[in-house]
């Protein structure tokens, strides 16, 4: 590579002496509407629409992070729109890249290649030189072939893998910087949007390249998950933070971090009836849209059934609900519901219910959130149930799951969704606790279910602990799940100590005397 001076077009102001901003030097104003798709689902959303054309972006990450895959997405997206695309490779050969692209299903047939990788003959040549440095010998032929190719093709998209190779062709850091800037400027003046990779590591930092580019996309890889983040995007805002990323058989997919404040929808905070008059009475109407309700209780007490009862009623109004089950098998849940007169199969056939089983350790929280978003935004679901909170924490990969759950719930709340969180408490009886995972602060409504041991019989009670948007009945009632459905009895005014689990009958005559 060398410093090729092209005469700038007359309408382009002279370069700023001190600035290293390639696009600034190019002097072309970009309207905020023009965006170039990266071809990666989700990444365009992170970039608020895509890349700004005719700029140079750095893509950095360690080995196996998906840099080349992202580059292929970028070029394939351009080729699909009929743009001229050029892949400049300094590491892998054209055959290798085409073969790899084929396995992932990319169509690279309309993409031009400039293969600058060393050929096998290089190795079999008996002697290599030592009289001059590689910078003196190799730079010129490489530069020449790039110039010729770019000037004849005039590509609109260029992907260069990897820019750090040029470091070996520069005498020193200053030369490298000057050459890279000049090279990027040359490409941009030819009308290209450039994506170039760097092989940055602790021993070979690439900070200089980060300063020189108009945008920086980082790819990261930890045993738990792959992460994409953007740290710089000149001329545009972007969604900050770490976004979950997947490399699959069909390429790369990015799941933008959920920012609840970005989503808002007008809705009426009306009550959703459960369809059980006594329960509605306890809740003074029902659960409101846009609220988060925790249904808490020990194992087998009927929490999921209670949640599905709300959905059954909603389905009657033609509304769609979604249940994400983390622990139970879908079949078991469906059979259980059918047995208590909740016609889940009919509801699913009519599209008013979707039961999604989440396989353990298969999804990241961002990915899960993107699934939920799809249900809410595309499928118009109005009730979302997560069964259960501890299942969510155990099944999803990555840390800080309470924060993710919080963000998801806030998002759903902003979208006017009635959120039902099923929370299992470990103790069957004993000291009462709302939840064991520290999420009760999230809840607008808390409904609890308890076992009671009364005269040698195990019975169930239901009560409301909290309701933000309305008052509620403070009494505890008996609840029964029968084959005709959920039955809620009269307030258990003759009992005391339900919350402690040590239930006693209230001795009425004694009380009257006092």
């Amino acid at each position: 590579m060398t410093t090729v001076r092209k005469t700038p077009p007359s309408n382009v102001p002279p370069a700023h002496a001190g600035g290293s901003d390639v696009s600034q030097r190019n002097g072309k104003k970009q309207t905020s509407f023009e965006r170039l798709s990266t071809g990666v689902p989700g990444l365009d959303e992170v970039l608020y629409g895509g890349l700004i054309p005719q700029r140079a972006y750095l893509l950095r990450g360690g080995p196996g992070c998906g840099k080349t895959t992202l580059g292929m997405h970028f070029l394939a997206a351009g080729a699909a729109k009929g743009e001229r695309c050029l892949f400049i490779s300094l590491g892998e050969s054209e055959e290798e890249i085409r073969a790899n692209a084929g396995t992932v299903g990319f169509d690279l047939s309309n993409i031009s290649f400039l293969d600058l990788s060393p050929n096998p003959e290089f190795f079999t040549q008996m002697e290599s030189y030592d009289i001059f440095s590689p910078a003196e010998v190799e730079r010129e032929p490489i530069t020449q072939s790039i110039i010729e190719r770019v000037e004849t093709l005039k590509p609109q998209r260029v992907f260069l893998d990897a820019m750090t190779q040029f470091r070996f062709l520069s005498a020193d850091a200053f030369q490298f910087r000057k050459q890279v800037l000049s090279f990027l400027r040359f490409l941009i003046e030819q009308g290209a949007t450039v994506l170039f990779t760097s092989e940055g590591s602790a021993s070979a930092p690439d900070d200089d390249l980060q300063f020189m580019s108009d945008g920086v996309i980082h790819l990261d890889f930890s045993p738990e998950e792959r992460i994409l983040s953007v740290s710089k995007f000149r001329g545009s805002d972007f969604r900050s933070g770490r976004h979950s990323m997947h490399l699959t058989a069909t390429g790369m997919q990015v799941f933008p971090r959920l920012l609840p404040e970005m989503h808002k929808r007008e809705f009426v905070a009306e009550s959703i009836s459960s369809g059980v008059p006594e329960l509605d009475e306890m809740l003074h109407g029902g659960l409101e849209r846009g609220t988060i309700s925790i249904i808490t209780g020990p194992s087998g007490v009927g929490k999921s059934t209670l949640g599905l009862q709300f959905m059954k009623e909603a389905a009657g109004r033609g509304e769609r609900s979604v249940v994400y089950i983390f622990e139970e098998w879908q079949e078991t849940l469906l059979r259980r519901c059918e047995a208590v007169n909740i016609p889940v199969h009919t509801m699913m056939e009519r599209g008013t219910l979707s039961v999604v089983q989440i396989e353990p350790l298969h999804f990241t929280p961002d990915q899960f959130a993107s699934m939920v978003r799809h249900e809410v935004e595309q499928q118009k679901a109005s009730i979302v149930m997560i069964d259960s909170v501890s299942g969510y924490r155990l099944s999803l990969q990555g840390g800080d799951l309470v924060t993710h759950l919080h963000a998801l719930c806030k998002y759903l709340q902003n979208m006017g969704i009635a959120v039902l969180l099923i929370n299992e408490v470990e103790g069957i009886t004993g000291e009462f606790r709302v939840t064991e995972v520290g999420i009760s602060y999230l809840a607008d409504n808390i409904v609890f279910l308890r076992y009671l041991e009364l005269q040698g019989e195990l019975r169930k009670a239901i009560g409301v602990l909290k309701k933000r948007l309305s008052s509620f009945e403070k009494t505890v009632r008996e609840i029964e799940v029968t084959r005709y459905g959920i039955k809620v009895g009269r307030p258990l005014t003759e009992l005391r100590g339900i919350l402690t689990g040590k239930v006693e009958m209230i001795d009425r005559p004694t009380r009257e005397r006092s």
Binding site: Q125, M126, E127, Y129, D130, I131, F132, S133, E136, V137
Partner: protein, 123 residues
């Protein structure tokens, strides 16, 4: 116009010779090359218009210095190219008549400048 004097390139490495020929050839110099002591002797035996010589000592033994002495006796200025910075090589080179010692890798522009000034001096 007088043709430029020839440069004798002595180098055991064929690829190095090619590269030297490529860069110096751009300067318009006539070149002759030698990649072994025999070829070097032959080049010295032939009465030609070698102006200056560039001797890469890499891969040669002590007998290279005898040839250097011959260059000196014929008043042919020459530069020694050394694979590394070494006081012993530097001393041996200068004591056998070298104008200077260059350490690999060479910088093309520097080499061209030196060759040019040496040839000018000779004229």
């Amino acid at each position: 116009m007088k043709t430029k004097a020839a440069i004798l390139l002595v180098n055991r490495n064929q690829r190095n010779l090619e590269l030297l020929a490529e860069f110096l050839g751009k300067g318009g110099y006539a070149l002759s090359t030698a990649s072994s002591l025999e070829e070097f002797d032959q080049a010295l035996a032939e009465e030609n218009d070698v102006g200056v010589a560039l001797v890469d000592i890499t891969g040669f033994d002590q007998s290279i210095w005898e040839r250097c002495e011959q260059l000196r006796s014929r008043k042919k200025p020459f530069l020694v190219v050394s694979p590394r910075q070494s006081a012993a090589i530097q001393q041996a080179s200068l004591s056998h008549g070298a104008k200077g010692v260059m350490i690999k890798p060479l910088v093309v522009q520097e080499l061209m400048g030196l060759v040019k000034s040496m040839l000018e001096e000779q004229e």
